[in-house]
Amino acid sequence: MSAQATTLPAPREQRTTLEVYRDDGPSARALGALLGRVLPLPPLVLLVLGALPAAIAIATQGDDTSAGTTAGLVAWFVLCAAISSGRPNEGSLRWAVPPLLRASEYGGLVWIATVAGDAVPGAFALLCAIAFRHYDLVYRGRHRGVTSPAWLDQVALGWDGRLLVACALLLADLLPAGFFVLAAIFAVVFVTETVAGWAAFSRAQRVGPTEAYDDEEDEA
C-alpha cells in the first residue's frame, strides 16, 4: 500500500474525510478537474440539478422509461455530480454530499434494473458489493487509519463509473447477467483487498502498537 502511496499525485494525500467518503471514480475526477472551475456552483446545487430530471422521470414514468432516456438521464446526473468533485465542498451542509451521492447511485442502479425488466435481484447483489466498499471506506479509516489505495479506487470505478457501466449494460441488453458478473468481481476484489489489508495490519501491530485516535461509534 505504501508503494502505491508514493506514486500518487499530490492532491490525493490532502483529501479530507468527506472527500474520501464521496468515492469518486476516475471519470468523476477527470470531469471535475476539467469543468470544476468553469461552473462555479456549489456541490449540493450540482447534485440536485443532476438528479432532478431523473427523479421527475422516475415519478412520472417509473420503469416505463425507455432504455435510451434512462441512460441519458443517468449520464446527465453523472456529468453534473462529477463536476461537483472539482468544486470546493464548503458550507454548513457539506456533510449532505456523500450520502446524496450514495442515494443517487443506489437509486439509479435500481431504476436501471427495473427499466431492464427482471434485473432487480442482480442490482441487489451489486448493491451489496458496493455497500461493502462504502462501509469499508469508513471502517478502515476508523479502525486502521488508512484510506483505500489508488489502484482500488480505479478498479472500484467510483459511483460515476459504476453508473455509466450500468447504463452501457442496459443499452447493450446485458442485464441482469451483467449485474451479477459485476457484483461477483467487485465482491472478490473488495473482500480480498480488505482481508489482505487486515492481515498486514495485524502483523504490523504485533511488532509495535499503532496508535490512532478512534472515533466513537456514531451509527447504531
Binding site: T17, V97, Y106, A123, R140, H143, S202, Y213, D215
Partner: protein
C-alpha cells in the same frame, strides 16, 4: 530544585486467575507517575493513609502492576519521602520515590519520566481509591490511545472537562476554567507512546511557566474558585442543614451575569472550622499538577478520549474520615456484578436495553468462562444470521417463524460480543471492524433471504429489498459524513494557550464576566441585562431538548432514530406474523421517519451555528 530518588524493587506477583484475560503486557503502558503531593486534613500525605493492611498508594501501585505497568514513579513533597517509601515497600512493581519541593519540580520529574519511558505513560493522583477494572478499562483499551478516566457527575477534589463527539475539547485545573463541562476528570491520564514526546515538551513548558510561581492570570482564576468555595461554605452554613458541601472546588464556573453572586467572597466571615476547610481545599489545589499536565495536553490539541468508570467505585479520600467512608462504601460493591453491568453499553436503544441486555450479559459471562473471544462470538452471530436468511428463503410459514427466532438469536449474540469484549477487556481494532461489517452483512443477507422467500411465495419484493438496503446505507452515510464534518469543526477550533485560564482563545471573556458579576454583586438591585435573542433553529432545538425532562422522551427519541435493536426486532416480529412485504414496508416507513427526524435535527444544528 531538590529531587531525591530511591528505588524499591519487588518480584512480580503471579497474575490472579479469575477467568478474565489479564491485561498485562498488552496495555502498552510501561510507566506510571503517581503524584502523592496532596496533604490530608490531618498531617502528612494523603496517599500514605492506611488502607486495608497497607496504604492507598500501595494499593494503587499493586493494581497498576497487576494490569501490567512494571515501573512506577511516586512523586511526593520533601519531608514525606520516608513515609512514602515505607508506604510502597513490598509493592508488586518497581517503585521510585522522588521528593520534590514545588510543582515546577514535579513537572520536571514528569517530563523526565516521559522521556525515559519506552512505552505509554500514566500520570495520576497517588491518593485515589478505585476498582482495578476501572484502571484496566482505560489502560487496556487499545481504542483509547491517549485518554482519561472520567465520570459524568461531580466528585470532591476533581476538575471538570468537556467532550465533543468523544473527544476532549476542554479541561479544567485549579488555574484553568472549562465552560459548559460535560464530565469530570478522575485523576488518571493515559498518554500513548506517540504522544509521549508531546507530554514531555508540555511538562517542560509548564515547568518554565510555574518555576517563578504561577502566572498572575492563573492565580486570579484560583482566587476566583477559592472565593466560590467560601461563598458555598458560607451559604451551606447559613442554610443550617449542617451538611458539608459536596461540590468540587472547580464546579463553580464563572458566575453568569444573569445570576449575580449574592455574597462577596472577600467580605465573608467563616467560622474557624470552615476557614480551615477552605484553607485545606486551597492547599490541595496548589499541589495539583495532574490536571495541569492534562490541560496542557488538551490545549496542545492532542486527541484525548474518555473512559467512563461507569458503576465502578472511585474516590479521592483526603482525610481519615473520607478514607473510612470510602472503605465502608467499597465493601458494598460486588465488583463482579458491577463489571458485568458496566459491560452493557450506555447508549443502546430501547429494545436492546430492555429486551436483550438484561440476559445477554449473563451469556457474555458464560462465554468468558468458556474462553470464547469476542471475534468468535461475532462470527457465530453472522453464521446464525445466514441461517436466518436461509430459513426466510424457504418462503414457508415455518421458515419465516424459524428465521424470526434466528434473527433474534443473531442479534442477541451480536450484543454478547461487545459485552464480552467490555467484560474481558479484550478490545481489538479487528474486533471492532468485524463487529461493524458483520452487523451490516447480517442485515442485508437477511433482506436477501426475505426477498428470495417472497419470490417462493409468488410475491416479488426485490425492489422493496433494494430500497430498504439503500435507505439504511444512506442513513448510515449521513451519520458518517455528519460526524466527519463535526470532527473537521472540532479540529479547526483553535485551543487557547495554556497560559490563559479561560478555554476560549483570547481570554477576555472571563475578565468581562467576572467584572460584570462583581458589579452585579455590588448592586444587587440592578436589573440583569436581557440575554440576546437566540436564532429560531437554536430555540427549536432548545425546546426539543427541554422535553428530555419527561422520563420517556430520551427513550422515545432513541426509538424514532430506529437503531439496530429496533430494526432486528421489526424484522423478526413482522416476518413471523405477516411476511416479507410487511417487513420491508415497516422498515421503509420507520426508516424514512428516522431519516427525516435525524436530518431535521442536523439541518437545524448546521444552520443555527
Amino acid at each position: 530544585l531538590t529531587t531525591e530518588t530511591t528505588t524499591t524493587s519487588a518480584p512480580r506477583r503471579a497474575p490472579a486467575d479469575d477467568g478474565r484475560a489479564r491485561a498485562g503486557g498488552r496495555t502498552g503502558v510501561t510507566t506510571a507517575v503517581l503524584l502523592a503531593t496532596a496533604p490530608t486534613d490531618g498531617h502528612g500525605v494523603a496517599a500514605g493513609q492506611a488502607w486495608d493492611d497497607h496504604t492507598i498508594v500501595r494499593r494503587l501501585v499493586d493494581q497498576l502492576a497487576d494490569i501490567g505497568v512494571p515501573s512506577v514513579h511516586v512523586i511526593t513533597r520533601t519531608g514525606w519521602e520516608d513515609q512514602l517509601r515505607r508506604a510502597v515497600e513490598g509493592a508488586a512493581a518497581s517503585v521510585q520515590v522522588h521528593a520534590s519541593d514545588a510543582i515546577s519540580s514535579d513537572l520536571q520529574l514528569i517530563a523526565d519520566a516521559a522521556r525515559e519511558s519506552d512505552g505509554g505513560l500514566v500520570v495520576a493522583y497517588g491518593d485515589i481509591v478505585t476498582h482495578r477494572e476501572a484502571l484496566a478499562g482505560l489502560l487496556a483499551d487499545p481504542r483509547v490511545a491517549s485518554g482519561v478516566l472520567a465520570v459524568g457527575v461531580r466528585r470532591p477534589f476533581t476538575y471538570r472537562l468537556r467532550t465533543s463527539r468523544g473527544r476532549i475539547v476542554s479541561a479544567a485545573s485549579p488555574y484553568h476554567l472549562v465552560r459548559r463541562p460535560t464530565g469530570t476528570f478522575l485523576g488518571v491520564l493515559k498518554v500513548s507512546p506517540n504522544d509521549r514526546a508531546a507530554l514531555a515538551g508540555i511538562a517542560d513548558d509548564l515547568e518554565r511557566l510555574t518555576e517563578p510561581g504561577v502566572p498572575g492570570a492563573w492565580a486570579a482564576e484560583l482566587d476566583r474558585k477559592l472565593g466560590n468555595v467560601r461563598v458555598r461554605l458560607a451559604t451551606a452554613a447559613l442554610e443550617e442543614d449542617g451538611e458539608e458541601p459536596r461540590d468540587t472546588l472547580e464546579d463553580a464556573g464563572p458566575p453568569e451575569p444573569a445570576e449575580p453572586v449574592a455574597l462577596d467572597p472577600s467580605t465573608i466571615v467563616l467560622s474557624p472550622e470552615l476557614e480551615e476547610e477552605a484553607a485545606f481545599r486551597a492547599a490541595v489545589a496548589r499541589e495539583d499538577v495532574v490536571t495541569l499536565v492534562f490541560v496542557g495536553l488538551v490545549r496542545s490539541g492532542a486527541p484525548l478520549a474518555t473512559t467512563h468508570v461507569r458503576k465502578l467505585f472511585w474516590a479521592r479520600p483526603l482525610s481519615s474520615e473520607a478514607v473510612a467512608g470510602a472503605a465502608e462504601r467499597i465493601t458494598h460493591y460486588d465488583e463482579e456484578k458491577v463489571l458485568l453491568d458496566s459491560a452493557v453499553k450506555a447508549t443502546d436503544g430501547f429494545f436492546t436495553t430492555f429486551f436483550v441486555s438484561p440476559y445477554s450479559k449473563y451469556i457474555a459471562r458464560f462465554a468468558a468462562r468458556l474462553g470464547l473471544t469476542p471475534n468468535v462470538v461475532t462470527t457465530i452471530s453472522v453464521l446464525i444470521g445466514c441461517l436466518a436468511a436461509a430459513a426466510f428463503a424457504t418462503g414457508e410459514r415455518w421458515g419465516l417463524v424459524t428465521g424470526a427466532v434466528l434473527v433474534h438469536l443473531a442479534f442477541v449474540t451480536d450484543c454478547v460480543d461487545g459485552q464480552l469484549a467490555r467484560y474481558t477487556r479484550t478490545f481489538t481494532k479487528l474486533g471492532a471492524w468485524l463487529d461493524s461489517v458483520f452487523d451490516r452483512t447480517k442485515e442485508y443477507v437477511v433482506f436477501a433471504g426475505l426477498a428470495l422467500g417472497a419470490t417462493q411465495m409468488g410475491d416479488d419484493v426485490w425492489v422493496l429489498a433494494a430500497a430498504a438496503l439503500t435507505l439504511q446505507t444512506v442513513r448510515h452515510s449521513f451519520d458518517f459524513s455528519y460526524a466527519a464534518a463535526q470532527h473537521e469543526v472540532i479540529g479547526a477550533t483553535p485551543q487557547a494557550p495554556v497560559e490563559e485560564p479561560d478555554d476560549v482563545p483570547g481570554g477576555a471573556r472571563i475578565k468581562q464576566i467576572s467584572a460584570e458579576a462583581h458589579a452585579a454583586a455590588a448592586a444587587p438591585q440592578a436589573p440583569a441585562a436581557p440575554a440576546p435573542p437566540q436564532p429560531l433553529p437554536r430555540r427549536i432545538l432548545g425546546l426539543w431538548r427541554s422535553l428530555d425532562r419527561l422520563a420517556f422522551m430520551p427513550w422515545l427519541k432513541r426509538m424514532i432514530a430506529f437503531p439496530i435493536g429496533e430494526r432486528f426486532a421489526v424484522i423478526a416480529i413482522t416476518a413471523a406474523l405477516w411476511g416479507p412485504r410487511t417487513t420491508f414496508t415497516v422498515l421503509l416507513v420507520w426508516g424514512g421517519v428516522a431519516l427525516a427526524y435525524t436530518l431535521a435535527g442536523r439541518l437545524l444544528r448546521s444552520i443555527g451555528r
